[in-house]
């Protein structure tokens, strides 16, 4: 099981991708529970606004694209956790 967070856009237009392989983490069960608890089906499209980031989050079978202003709550938590696991 893995989760991939890809951030595109921003004023710089530079894409960065962070990936976490759940089974390689020190706490894989916590990761799996957290990933399963995310509101995957509740993500709705929002109008694009200049220079904000767009986050594409993939964790098979799920894939969502969330505009930066909507990356709140558990999604914010996810992005922070994935970045932290990648050391940035």
């Amino acid at each position: 099981m893995k989760v991939i967070v890809s951030r595109s856009g921003g004023m710089a237009g530079i894409r960065l991708t962070w990936e976490v392989r759940v089974e390689e983490q020190p706490d894989p069960a916590t990761w799996a529970d957290f990933l399963n608890s995310l509101p995957w089906d509740d993500v709705t499209d929002s109008e694009a606004t200049p220079d904000r980031f767009a986050y594409r989050i993939r964790c098979a079978p799920h894939e969502v694209v969330i505009a930066e202003p909507q990356v709140n709550g558990p999604w914010r938590d996810l992005v922070n956790r994935v970045r932290a696991a990648n050391g940035m």
């Binding site: 004023m11 694009a48 220079d51 767009a54 940035m88």
Partner: protein, 364 residues
């Protein structure tokens, strides 16, 4: 008091006609008011306010009574706030118009960059601030923690400090500040949809005027200018000179971590992608290069003839929200012919530029 420059009610010395009044004047059929109505219509068209007011969907559409600003037209009205590393806006007010520089370079750069942007648009194109009617310019610095971005949120410009590893603070480049403020101007005028080709045009217009803000402030002719967007934004750990090159898209950086600058410079290399709203920051390289080619052909100061053509196109009636590259090319060509004569140097330069980047064909 939030806006010391704005007085309550109608100010007797005000010389600015508010847009809602222009609309009323423009609608008057009474022949006694014909001249005023015609002038009002012209003024409306000049600032492209009429589309927003007609549509009624604009977030800042004027509704009924408004206070009039007691200010000299063209006088900037800047307020810089400090988010203190939080992602909350606007943050704490740290510098208002006319206050002296302090010790925080981000505050000083934001203040000066907004001033340089107002200076370009007012002195060269007669545009008074973002809305063409003296809208106060608000910016927030120190947004977020190690935040690698700058953006226009519909009301204000927001600048992050960068992470210090890849990016320096985003106020470091006046082309970035001009870029963000131009997003505001586009919102109030052509309001190009931020998706696919119209989105790449929206981006390109911000790069064009961002570059012109810098060139105008430093009095650089086309020959002398770098044509870079975001010069100095990368730390010295990055192999790259800037975010984008308008003169040579795709050459701004080539780095182990970031990869190579992916911008195309012609339609042959147009990037089809779902990311970044259809690659708006990538495909903007194509119209960016077209603008550079016009400037190169015309020579001299790019904010003059080339900038005027782009500005008049942006604020005129020839664009739709979903205009694509071809529509924009046709509109700039028409503007160049109207302003500088059909078959003249400028008109010819615009036609050739769009042909060179592969947007127009058979235009020779």
């Amino acid at each position: 008091m939030d806006n010391p420059q704005i007085s309550p009610g109608l100010h007797p010395n005000c010389t600015i006609v508010p847009p809602y009044l222009l609309v009323r004047l423009a609608k008057l059929d009474d022949p006694r008011f014909a001249q005023a109505a015609a002038a009002a219509r012209a003024s409306l068209l000049r600032d492209s306010q009429i589309r927003q007011l007609r549509g009624g969907t604009h977030p800042f559409a004027y509704s009924g009574a408004r206070t009039l600003p007691a200010r000299t037209p063209g006088q900037s009205d800047r307020t810089i706030s400090d988010a203190g590393g939080q992602e909350r806006l606007p943050g704490r007010r740290v510098r208002a118009e006319g206050q002296p520089a302090g010790s925080d370079p981000a505050v000083n750069e934001a203040y000066d960059g907004l001033g340089a942007t107002q200076n370009l648009f007012w002195t060269q194109y007669g545009r008074d601030s973002i809305d063409g009617a003296g809208l106060p310019m608000d910016a927030t610095v120190h947004y977020g923690k190690e935040y690698d971005n700058a953006f226009w949120d519909g009301e204000r410009m927001v600048f992050g400090d960068g992470d210090g590893q890849v990016f320096n603070r985003f106020t470091i480049s006046s082309s970035v500040i001009g870029h963000e403020l131009t997003h505001g101007i586009t919102q109030f005028t052509a309001n190009l949809q931020y998706q696919d080709q119209s989105g790449a045009l929206n981006e390109s217009i911000s790069d064009v005027f961002g570059a012109l803000v810098e060139q105008h402030a430093q009095t650089q002719s086309t020959d002398e200018a770098s044509w870079l967007i975001g010069e100095g934004l990368f730390t010295d750990q990055v192999e790259g000179v800037a975010l984008r090159s308008m003169k040579a898209p795709g050459t701004a950086y080539n780095d182990d971590v970031l990869g190579k600058d992916p911008q195309p410079g012609s339609m042959a290399d147009y990037v089809e992608t779902e990311e970044d709203n259809g690659g708006v920051h990538l495909n903007s390289g194509i119209p960016n290069r077209a603008f550079y080619l016009v400037a190169e052909a015309v020579g001299g100061n790019a904010w003059e003839t080339p900038g005027r053509i782009w500005y008049d196109t942006l604020t005129g009636t020839g664009l739709r929200r979903d205009s694509d590259f071809a529509a924009f090319a046709a509109a700039t060509t028409e503007t160049a012919a109207r302003l500088y004569g059909s078959g003249g140097t400028a008109h010819d330069a615009v036609l050739r530029a769009w042909a060179t980047v592969g947007v127009l064909t058979g235009s020779e």
